[in-house]
């Protein structure tokens, strides 16, 4: 459902100067490692640098929101870079403003939609769709009888970084997925308060496991959420990672991850740009079908997840892709 709803860029002008090595820069509106998707985008940049042979650089703007507009503009106005990669909904207004004032500069924008700017290409990942899968998966796990650590209580956990819309969008998808399987599944949600306090993330998950009888927890809390994953290992229960494939962190405990494939999409976009075919002025929602999001199904998944659940998930994924299942995002 790639909805190229904006008219194509005028004359496809938006393309790489031929013959010259492309300079791409990633402006991080925060610091790397803060939340998983910056790291993921960063991986994409590195990969693009290697595979496509372009010059890549990343500049961290820091956590002070007030710096971001000036930080991004200083990159753009330096004219050193052909294309700027930048993302998150917090940057929408800033990018719109700067893109309008520097019409010759190109922007690849990820994690949200910018419409109507002829020099911006944007990609949105449907995190609610991905979280729907995670929720369905968790519900299947908690009711499963093959998994040793699954208990009869129909309780699943959610550990969020902060009680803010973007995180609650994950939560909403998660709940929809769980209730799609069984409306009787109870979702326990707790918030850490930041994205760094791993011990607290662990403590909350432990409490969900030990006293709320949850047997699987979905973390959406960046670095802090790693604590929740570790908790699942300590008590021998299950968890679901986020942003990238976190299955290998605690094999057998982290059963799957809801990965936003920002890295792949960044590489793809830069590749298209290099070839001169990236459609600036348009945006794409990268859902399950487009490979923008999805559960990580690696060897570990194959090894630890019961066949019955795997099959059921494939089934649900098909229904999602075909549009038979519609996930409501609270952000729209």
């Amino acid at each position: 459902k790639a909805n190229n709803n904006t008219s194509p860029a005028p004359g496809g002008s938006a393309n790489a100067p031929a013959g010259k090595k492309i300079n791409a820069v990633f402006y991080v509106n925060g610091t790397l490692g803060d939340k998983g998707f910056f790291d993921s985008a960063q991986r994409g940049m590195v990969k693009a640098g290697k595979e496509l042979g372009i010059n890549v650089k990343s500049v961290e703007g820091g956590t002070n929101q007030a710096d971001w507009a000036a930080g991004l503009e200083s990159l753009v106005s330096s004219k050193k870079y052909d294309v700027v990669v930048v993302g998150t909904s917090q940057m929408i207004d800033i990018v719109k403003d700067i893109a309008a004032r520097y019409p010759d500069e190109k922007f690849i924008f990820f994690d949200d939609v910018i419409e109507g700017m002829p020099n911006v290409y944007s990609m949105l990942y449907s995190q609610s769709e991905g979280s729907f899968l995670a929720g369905a998966f968790a519900a299947l796990v908690t009711e499963n009888t093959e998994l040793k650590a699954a208990n009869p209580d129909k309780v699943i956990g959610f550990v969020g970084g902060m009680d803010i819309p973007i995180i609650n969008d994950f939560k909403a998808g998660y709940e929809q997925g769980a209730h799609y399987i069984d409306p009787g599944v109870k979702v326990v949600a707790s918030y850490i308060g930041d994205f760094a306090n791993a011990p607290k993330g662990k403590e909350l998950a432990l409490s969900q496991f030990n006293t709320q009888k949850a047997d699987i927890v979905y973390q959406v809390a960046g670095g802090a959420g790693l604590g929740a994953l570790e908790a699942s290992k300590n008590v021998g229960k299950y968890s679901i990672g986020v942003d990238g494939n976190q299955n290998p962190l605690y094999p057998g405990n982290v059963l799957t991850s809801m990965a936003k494939n920002i890295d792949a999409s960044v590489v793809r976009a830069l590749g298209l740009y290099q070839q001169g075919t990236l459609a600036f002025g348009t945006n794409e929602v990268l859902g399950l079908k487009e490979g923008g999001i999805g559960l990580s199904k690696d060897d570990l998944y194959a090894k630890y997840v019961p066949k019955s659940i795997q099959d059921k998930m494939t089934d649900i994924e098909n229904k999602l892709a075909s549009g038979e299942i519609q996930v409501k995002s609270i952000l729209k």
């Binding site: 610091t31 820091g62 002070n64 007030a66 917090q90 803010i164 819309p165």
Partner: protein, 352 residues
């Protein structure tokens, strides 16, 4: 005549400290960079090499000037508050509410009203800590640190739930404030907004308040010797509460000016530690308003330098930050100043 010399000495000390700091920074750069000279020039020269960066420095300095002033006032009354961060949120929040939700007022009434409400928000919130200290004898360091969390969490709740712009997407904010209420950028191509003028005004007002008025006299006296103030019939408790509240009002201004000048509306978690930076600014300035102005500009300059260094060279953010820290440490080294003064004094003696 004597004070003039003292000022020269002070300036010489600063220059000396900066030179040492740069040498240290240079050593770090040499050790970690493949292009040390580019790195150094992007740290030192780039921030002032174009109007854009200069404007950025000014914009960054604005909230620091306000929080620095806020803490300078409080510190001068002998109270060690760490609460500017929370007060900034409280004030910014209230100011933004008034900006967003009141319609139909002419801007020349609405704008001052916003500022007044921001000041009131900061002051009232600060008043809690003041009241706890003055009448319950509760240590202000603890209460202000804790109240910061309370303010941040409470405002976060309200902006995420009650006052959220439905269009705000993944990160909550209030609806955008009408452009005619925002701080303008009067010079085309120069990103500085008029908040800097407000900050300068605040420096002057705080200076006058502290050094030229009855309130300032009482406030400083309580800070210097509260027993003497008691003996002189000054109501120390009242003075402490009012100084904390004045500080709160200034912190509230820091918040609203940042909102009106940079963010355009109240955004969740917008401050990122401006209140804590204010502590460093006030201490660097030895709690003098004019010093605050200079220290804030210096601090903003090296912050922008850290950013331009990252953009213009191979230095990662962390190293840039470390150099920034070294600059602050060396410039605030009293020993360097004392050393110069002593040198000077003994030379004078020798001349006699």
């Amino acid at each position: 005549m004597k004070t003039e010399k003292a000022i020269y000495l002070e300036l010489a000390g600063i220059a000396f400290a900066i030179v040492i700091a740069l040498l240290c920074g240079f050593a770090v750069i040499l050790a970690t960079s493949a292009e040390p000279f580019t790195a150094l020039s992007s740290l030192i020269v780039d921030p002032v090499s174009n109007l854009f960066n200069i404007g950025t420095i000014l914009n960054k300095a604005v909230p620091l000037i306000f929080t620095g002033l806020s803490l300078a006032v409080v510190f001068q009354s002998g109270v060690f508050s760490m609460g500017a961060e929370g007060q900034l949120y409280a004030g910014g929040f209230l100011g933004a509410l008034v900006a967003v939700n009141i319609h139909g007022l002419p801007a020349w009434i609405h704008f001052p009203l916003i500022l007044v409400c921001a000041m009131a928000g900061g002051a009232l919130f600060a008043g809690i800590a003041g009241w706890l200290k003055a009448y319950w004898n509760a240590n202000e360091v603890v209460t202000t640190l804790m109240l910061n969390f309370v303010a941040i969490l409470a405002t976060s709740y309200f902006v995420n739930n009650v006052f959220k712009d439905p269009a705000s997407g993944g990160y909550a904010r209030m609806p955008y404030i009408s452009p005619d209420l925002l701080l303008k950028k009067p010079i085309p191509g120069f990103p500085a907004h008029t908040g800097f003028v407000l900050a300068l005004l605040a420096v002057v007002v705080v200076y006058l308040l502290l050094y030229k008025t009855k309130v300032g006299y009482e406030l400083r006296l309580v800070g210097k010797n509260s027993r003497f103030a008691d003996y002189g019939g000054i109501h120390t408790n009242r003075v402490i509460i009012s100084s904390i509240m004045i500080g709160g009002a200034l912190a509230g201004l820091a918040g609203i000016v940042e909102i009106l000048g940079v963010h355009g509306t109240y955004k969740d978690n917008f401050s990122a530690g401006l209140g804590f930076d204010g502590i460093i600014i006030a201490l660097l300035a030895r709690n003098h308003p004019v010093g605050v102005l200079i220290a804030a500009l210096f601090y903003a300059y090296i912050q922008v330098g850290a950013q331009t260094m990252q953009v213009g060279s191979d230095m990662p953010r962390e190293v840039a930050v470390i150099i920034q820290v070294m600059l602050v440490l060396l410039v605030s080294s009293q020993a360097i100043f004392a050393f110069l003064k002593q040198k000077y004094a003994t030379r004078q003696k020798a001349v006699k």
